[in-house]
Amino acid sequence: MTAQLSHLDMLEAEAIHIFREAAAQFRRPVLMYSIGKDSTVLLHLARKAFWPQKPPFPLLHIDTTWKFRDMIAFRDKTVREFKLDLIVHTNEDGLKRGVNPYDYTPSVYTDVMKTQPLKQALDKYGFDAAFGGARRDEESSRAKERVFSFRSPGHRWDPRRQRPEMWNLLNGRLGPGETVRVFPLSNWTERDVWRYILREKLDVVPLYFAAQRPTIVRNGQLLVVDDDRLPLQPGEVPQMKSVRFRTLGCWPLTAAVLSTADDIESVVEETLGARTSERQGRLIDHDQAGAMERKKQEGYF
């Protein structure tokens, strides 16, 4: 009855193994939950890893206050459905200073509203390990990332001092002041994530499905206007278009694509046939060459 394991079966088993290793080796882990498709898969695997128990760690959501409303609704529904513990953290100081995604450059905004609060929250609750959904195939600076990725005090990532990882042995012993990011989806590709969502019939944020939404075009990118906080420039009149998202983030920074794929099968089919890589839709990455690597060194991931 048991044919050879498919590549998804192998990836699933590996991720479960990583979750269990981390939970056993670290004192106080947390799952960085960003509501998108990768987090959805991550959470599902965490539930499998510890079933019939609940995952033995809370979820942490860094809320920039600029997430799509549908994302927040989905987050709260998920937490209720699986009876999870959720910690929401916002950089109140940044909020007070009025740091927003349109008056500030993406790198400043990301630093103040994402990187800083992530560090604040990890320090505040004393988490020594944080699960994230990053994949090695996302970007070239991540192609060298470890499964257990150690951060020196101050959450900095030093690509030159990474611990070698051999076979499937995971060493979670922390040095003084170190914390770790754990990436159970390291070996997944974007396509695997979608294939898995389809196979496991996972619920995802409706923004991944095409619908008529109010859009504007700015800097050649299609933006969906989620509320009235973004000042429109002269000539920008929201137009209803059938669009969906390939990745989700802060709405003024996340480009939509024209699409009519309105159910999971058609979205997956469209994504797997996609002709451009997903990060084209994430504006912060176009900032500078090597931007991602720099952000990592600063502790963004």
Binding site: M10, S141, N187
Partner: protein
Amino acid sequence: MTAVTAIRREDLAPAFNQELNGILHLLTCGSVDDGKSTLIGRLLWDASDLYDDQRETIRRSSNAATGGAHPDFSLLLDGLVAEREQGITIDIAWRYFDTATRRFVVIDSPGHEQYTRNMASGASHADVAIMLVDARSGIKRQTRRHAAILDIVGVKRVILAVNKMDLVDWSQENFRQIEADFRELTLRFGFREAIAIPVSAVGGDNVAHKSDHMPWYTGPHLLDYLERIPARDTAARGPFRFPVQTVLRDGADFRGLAGTVASGCITVGDRITDAISGQSAHVLRIATMDRDLEIAKQGQSVALQLDMDIDVARGAVISDADNLPTVTSRFEGRIVWLWETPFDPNSGYFLRTSTDLAPISSIAIKSLLNLETLAAQPSEKCSVNDIAIASITLGRPVAIDPFASNQPTGIFLIIDALTGASVAGGVITEATTGKTDDASAFRLTRELLERGLCRDLGNGEDDRREFQRRANETALLLHAAGIPVKIEI
């Protein structure tokens, strides 16, 4: 530019809901400039479903080495900013691509001597390795070193890609000589398969298409060979081994030993033994969140429920009752020193096996392996990039197998107790059985610990884990003070 056209996506992309037939981990190694990046870039270009923006970037590029006649395929593998600037690859990088039926994971590792450790760690993940040589220079000392590293970490299949055949006028004679040297070299190792393929990475000759330039070569082209290799062994090979990661509970009814089947397979009703405690039971249930399984095999992550509540926790190796691993506190191994700080007999170290962590009471380096001559040179020292033969004594017994008979339970890491760094990776060459009593060792017993240090701990799962942790740390402190320790708890 004929070489870069004629790609039909439909042939390359797997159907959207199709699951691929396993995963093949492919290591690439060679000296700088042999054409490794170009070769892998070319493979991606010809055989996988790249995105349009990636294709466009490559199409716009041009390769100076060929007078701009070809795009620069090596750009597909660009790495960290620091490395791009230096023009070298220092760390291993992971790439993923799918052909129509299979997932390939390309593990790109640096070839330089000072990066032996990177190569060893990269190779430990590989099912097959491509060793690259330049057709003009053939096998080098370095090639021999690479083969030795591959053999040590257990890679069973190697491909010698003889690259830049265009620069030797596609000479058969030239290739046959290199092939013969390669055969002689590989005979000294334990490879299951070794094959040499003449290629030209820039032109794509024998990469994903048969070359028109070398009609004399009748063997498979690179991709052809790769696609025919059976993917990572999921056939149930070896004896059943199940290192326990954690124990999962659900009220009073369910106590599941959670872990991944490291080798072999297990069926409901099988009799198992916890090797260290010697307790046995039968498997009542193989549970997952989706459904109960009748059988679980190598690579599957499950929770085992037993018919009797035997007292096992993380670190135990649940095994086939009729084929047990060795339980010992002393063994010999080959280690690759991975860390900048050299081995120091007075430092505290831990041994990590799959899920167990035991304090090391002594490491005796016996010799260093000369990777070029393969001779062992007596030495007591060991530093970064060295491959050493060492005899290791632990503060308490662990369950292990010799690497040659069962890889998944024959591997280990040595961890620096202070910094937590993984200072060495190793394979067990000989698991010493029988009592290895060091009469002079201090016996760190349960009673001693309960008296004070662990007075606050009860009998729950967490408390017992904490007890173990404190015992480990105490042993290390005593060791650091020069006192040999034996943990008896």
